[in-house]
Symmetry: C2
Subunit: 402 residues, 2 copies
């Protein structure tokens, strides 16, 4: 096979060999832009037409850990297929795919250089007034339309087998649900948050809840979930939202996606205390974040309900009260996963919301707040009747953490 | 391929062509013994050595409905592979497999002619004192050992994909969870049980519970379940129990198997009122059945707990109280599915426990009792703390149904 191994050196020739991608003989400039720790990502631009694209390539190992940490390249198939599928449901919310080459473990997609990673945007205190509508719509449509409510049960099971994704799931299973709660000797904490981080090892009520949430992640095949929908997997502008990095996608609990969005907004909420220059600015941005959290859930629930009412293939779902009960369970799942997604960022797998805080004391305080909020959300979610009550908990807990 | 299509006419030559199955030139006598509505089953015996075996063959359609009702022959792969796997865990509780031929959609297994189908044995009021130990052990081992508690998560997901079994699941989804509750115009009832059967169409509290149970069946991939473990899938003698007919097997909720056993014992309990010759005999056999139900659960829970405590790979399962909570949920799932398995036998898919009752009035009363018990078990299970309370409900409800 020509272009046996694609690398920066032969990528240009490879791309020019693909019909209908770039004009013949285009003057392509290629730049490696991958900031993740898993794959290689290249930005490609034709200097004449200014037409551009992004190439994402998987190697059979985890980029950040070198060749010894094997990782299936099947993740590229899953990512590109899920992205295409989500594009059918929500064309505005995912990059377009131009080309897929599974033999070479790569695909070529729309260039989103005019967008910003949402996590960075939140650190800069940007506001995204359309974000709740966009992400609520995206989650409702991708989750509902791949569930047993929308799909024939046989087709759903075929898709479930096609996106089983054991190796990527294993990463989440370990890092989100296990490592923060069971001392394997590898976790190091920000000085000042260590006591709180290590206290999780003995927090039996929390570990009990997390065990049940992990059980859901392992067994609850509700929908084809994104599987890694944190603010680092979202590209945004003032009026656009795009979900990327679908490589963790599999049939799992819907609440894991909703919780990822909510949890990462709360993480930023915790960190903003220190990013914001003064109390008024901080309070205002926090209010914005809490409104965003509320609206994300409300839009999601509204759209999900609308889809259910418009077209639910599952006749048993018509039973009186079942829809309300389903949404209530989904709400509590979402909050539980939100808490897990927050807690896993204390210790290992730090996020820029915290690492960008230069002052260690302030950073530690932000992490302590995030950890406390994550924990309280997990433990108290069973009592919540509405998203407003969760938001209230966040507001009331904040001044109590010193 | 020689023996392109296997049928009664060429089966003898086919079997003799298989090395190490029967002696060369053996005088084989073949008898079709399939009483199910899905497959063809042949009993084969060498007239000289008396050595015997059973051949199970799938056609690409449902036997009882003719060639127009297509059904995947992949069910033979699933049945023989699951039987072999269960044989590794519980060699005493499944037939031995002698030969598998997926090209011809058949396999050859141990002849269990010395055993009796348990449903028939219960109708004859036979007693099986070892049955709770056998079936409790079988369910605990097959369910626990294929779950995330015993298997590496990646291996579990591979097995889940291998046994996705969409076509067979669809039959259960429709017949157990949908048809009894939603009038599709196809259900006919025993005269005298029609009113009660049709009342299910408007029983919203019950439909609400059944919707949630169907959701579990569709989404809860806990273990490789048998999937059809009623008393017609169990071969018994006074001191032996063998599970057959694994063609419905897939990764589903554990409680579906436990519930199938319990529910079918309760069905027989309902029918025994009329099979038994006098009140004392009836009461004694009923007491035996209720003790059996209790012991099936207790042995299952004891063995499941023992396996969990001896070797649980899932570290999060160590959280305080989680094991007890898991077993409690499994208990309530089992009772819910038990009720569904009972109710689905009223109307369509009748079982011999009822069809063998010659007197229509008596048969209708038996069916009304079964339906009432199934319904009460589903609705009241959330309150039960122990199997004894479920047994008590059955005892208390019985005289109230006239």
């Amino acid at each position: 096979m020509p272009f046996d191994t694609i690398h920066e050196g032969n990528l240009k020739d490879y791309l020019l060999s693909i019909p209908n991608l770039f004009p013949a003989g285009a003057d392509l400039v290629i730049k490696e832009i991958g900031d993740g720790n898993i794959n290689f990502v290249y930005h490609v631009q034709d200097q004449d037409s200014k037409q551009s694209a992004v190439v994402k390539q998987a190697k059979p190992y985890l980029r950040s850990s070198g060749k010894d940490r094997k990782l299936t390249t099947d993740r590229i198939r899953i990512e590109s297929e899920v992205m295409a599928l989500e594009g059918d449901f929500c064309p505005e919310q995912v990059p377009k795919i131009y080309h897929q080459d599974l033999d070479r473990s790569l695909f070529v997609m729309e260039d989103l250089s005019d967008h910003q990673i949402m996590r960075k945007g939140l650190i800069e205190r940007n506001r995204y007034p359309y974000f709740p509508e966009h992400i609520g719509f995206f989650m409702a449509h991708t989750l509902y339309k791949t569930s047993d409510f929308a799909l024939d049960a046989k087709l759903k099971k075929e898709m479930q087998a096609r996106f089983m994704n054991p190796e990527m799931c294993e990463i989440t299973e370990k890092l989100v649900f296990t490592v923060p709660y069971y001392d394997d000797g590898t976790t190091s904490y920000t000085p000042g948050a260590e006591e709180q981080g290590r206290a999780l090892f003995d927090d039996e009520p929390l570990k009990y809840e997390v065990a049940a949430l992990k059980e859901s992640f392992l067994t609850k095949a509700q929908a084809l979930i994104h599987g890694d929908l944190h603010t680092g997997s979202l590209f945004v502008t003032a009026d656009s939202t795009k979900a990327i990095d679908q490589e963790f996608s599999f049939y799992g609990p819907m609440g894991f996606d909703v919780g990822a969005v909510i949890g990462n907004l709360v993480l930023n909420y915790a960190a903003q205390e220190y990013h914001s220059r003064n109390e008024q600015e901080r309070n205002e941005y926090r209010t914005y974040l809490l409104e965003t959290i509320r609206d994300v859930w409300l839009v999601f629930a509204r759209e999900f309900t609308r889809l259910w009412e418009e077209d639910n293939q599952e006749i048993t779902a018509r039973a009186e009260g079942y829809k309300e009960n389903y949404l209530d369970r989904l709400f509590k799942d979402s909050l539980g996963f939100a808490g897990c997604k927050m807690i896993r960022r204390i210790g290992r797998a730090q996020v820029e919301d915290f690492t960008s805080i230069a002052d260690d004391n302030i950073r530690a305080k932000a992490e302590r707040l995030a950890l406390r909020l994550g924990k309280d959300i997990i433990l108290q979610r069973h009592q919540f009747q509405s998203i407003e009550e969760a938001v209230e908990l966040i507001e009331e807990t904040t001044p109590r953490v010193s």
